[in-house]
């Protein structure tokens, strides 16, 4: 009984051990009997890369990440187990990146002879390469979480813009836009009609311009003819004669001007006499306006005027009577 127990227990333990070992090897995708090579890679950060993550080359799994450890000068070093016989590039690098949105990461072997387009990756690779040593340079792409966070911010901005557009572009805006489009259509029709009219006018203008051009050509011909005649006239001396007469007239005008200037000089020399004369006249006129003096009284008083007129009339009558009858008033006797 005890022997049988031992056999059963032993078989169970062996079977369980085989299950554990085989399961662990199968799950870790370990290739028993297949040799592999170990490589080191250097990163500033490995992001979400973990032990056991696949190492791929041109999309094909060629190994796995063995270990990850912190190194000096703020570097992170990883050991990569790559299947033997894989034709790797002579100058290899590693890019750690997420495989999907769910936290799966992988290390991709890249050829350093073919530069990557991403400037950040290129900079990280060059920085790790500058350290030197028999270690592959590594770079890490942004985590999906960072990208989705960025996308989330962009989406939020778009949502905000959409909300604002929705707020502005309500039903009234639609109606107004329709009206605007309708108005624009009318304006376009008007412009079309205006353009057609203007085109016709421009046609008429063109015709008129043609005619005007003909007239101008005719006028030019006439002007040319007149100039020719003028040229012939000037050639006989008439124009010289006119200029000479004009010079004589101008000389006479200059003499008249000198006479006038002399007269003005005389007047300026007798200006005190003129001033007195004007002041006297002014005084006289002032007295006339005030009604003083003989003339003033005569002007201002109508009775005096009437009396004076009557007196003159009587004097005329008396003079006539004296002429008619001188003896009546004069008596000459010698003795």
């Amino acid at each position: 009984m005890k022997r049988r127990d031992e056999l059963i227990v032993g078989a169970t333990i062996v079977f369980a051990a085989v299950v554990i070992a085989a399961g662990a090897l199968w799950l870790s995708d370990t290739r028993l009997g297949g040799s592999s090579d170990s490589y080191q890679a250097r990163f500033r950060t490995v992001g979400g890369l973990g032990v056991g993550n696949p190492v791929v080359f041109r999309g094909v799994r060629v190994g796995r990440v063995e270990t990850i450890r912190l190194a000096a000068d703020n570097w992170v070093e990883t050991d990569l187990r790559v299947y033997a016989g894989v034709p790797l590039p002579p100058r290899s690098g590693i890019i750690a990146a997420s495989r999907s949105f769910f936290g799966e990461w992988q290390a991709t072997i890249v050829d350093l002879e073919q530069p990557t387009e991403d400037p950040n990756v290129r900079r990280d690779l060059e920085e790790a390469l500058a350290v030197g040593g028999d270690v592959w340079p590594g770079a890490t792409l942004p985590d999906i979480g960072q990208l989705t966070a960025q996308a989330g911010r962009v989406a939020g901005d778009i949502a905000s813009i959409s909300s604002r557009i929705q707020t502005v572009f309500d039903s009234n805006a639609v109606v107004e836009l329709q009206d605007a489009i309708r108005d624009f259509t009318g304006i376009a029709d008007n412009i079309n009609q205006f353009t057609r009219t203007q085109t016709e006018i421009m046609g008429d203008v063109g015709v008129n311009l043609q005619q005007g051009s003909d007239v101008l050509a005719d006028a030019a011909l006439r002007l040319q003819s007149s100039l020719a005649r003028l040229d012939s006239a000037t050639s006989a001396g008439e124009l010289s004669s006119i200029f000479a007469n004009t010079a004589v007239a101008s000389e006479q005008a200059r003499g008249a001007m000198e006479d006038a200037r002399a007269l003005i000089g005389i007047v300026r020399a007798n200006d005190s006499t003129l001033v007195r004369l004007i002041q006297g006249a002014d005084s006289l006129i002032a007295r006339l306006e005030q009604g003083t003096g003989t003339l003033g009284l005569l002007v201002s008083d109508s009775a005096l005027y009437t009396e004076a007129t009557l007196t003159v009339r009587q004097l005329r009558t008396l003079l006539a009577d004296i002429q008619a009858n001188p003896r009546k008033y004069f008596k000459f006797s010698v003795f």
Partner: protein
Amino acid sequence: MSALGRGGQFLGDVGRSLRETDTWVSLTAVQMRRIGVQSLPIALFIAVFAGIVLALLSSYSFTGAVPLYFVGTFVGKAMMLELAPVLVGLALAGRVGANIAAELGTMRVTEQVDALETLAFNPNAYLVVPRALAATAMFPVVVALATGLGIVAGWFTAINLLDLSSPDFVKGLRLFYQFKDVWFGLLKAMSFGFVIAMIGCYKGLNTRGGAEGVGRETTAAVVMGAEMILVLDAFWAVVLL
């Protein structure tokens, strides 16, 4: 505190009894078969249905944004890290713990333990050490087989009941696999086995009051064993994960 003190003293006595290899070595294989091999059916039964339920629950939960191949990840991780050790441990706490406590309790109340002592046998070396070693050694074996069968059951379920291909399930299974997942579950199972056996032995050897006392101590052994499994589960999660 006194219980802790008695437990510590009992643990020390058992440790000293390990030197009596002539006594316990020949008895261990029998206990390993009784505790381990004979517990396989219940453990595998639990594991199969746990795997099926895990696959279905995960597919139900992952419908939508999460790709379905994560069913494999979930089944593998859950079985290896938690469900197989804990469910099997709880089941064996009932089966093994109760068995040990009842057996030793009966021996105590029927004065068989006293007879062993009279015959100059160390009861700890004769009764406790083989059971403790057998449980400690066989629990990981049982849990390992249960884990494997549970994953296979989940795999089978995913292929046949879910719209998931076998390569996809394997892809998910391998996705975040680490060897730590395996030994973490086995280490937990080992600790569970040791604790369950020790509690059963302690309760059984301290049984008083005849059949009623056997029943009481058996029940106490199962309850305490289950509690200690959960406490150890949390402890290992805090320490090792």
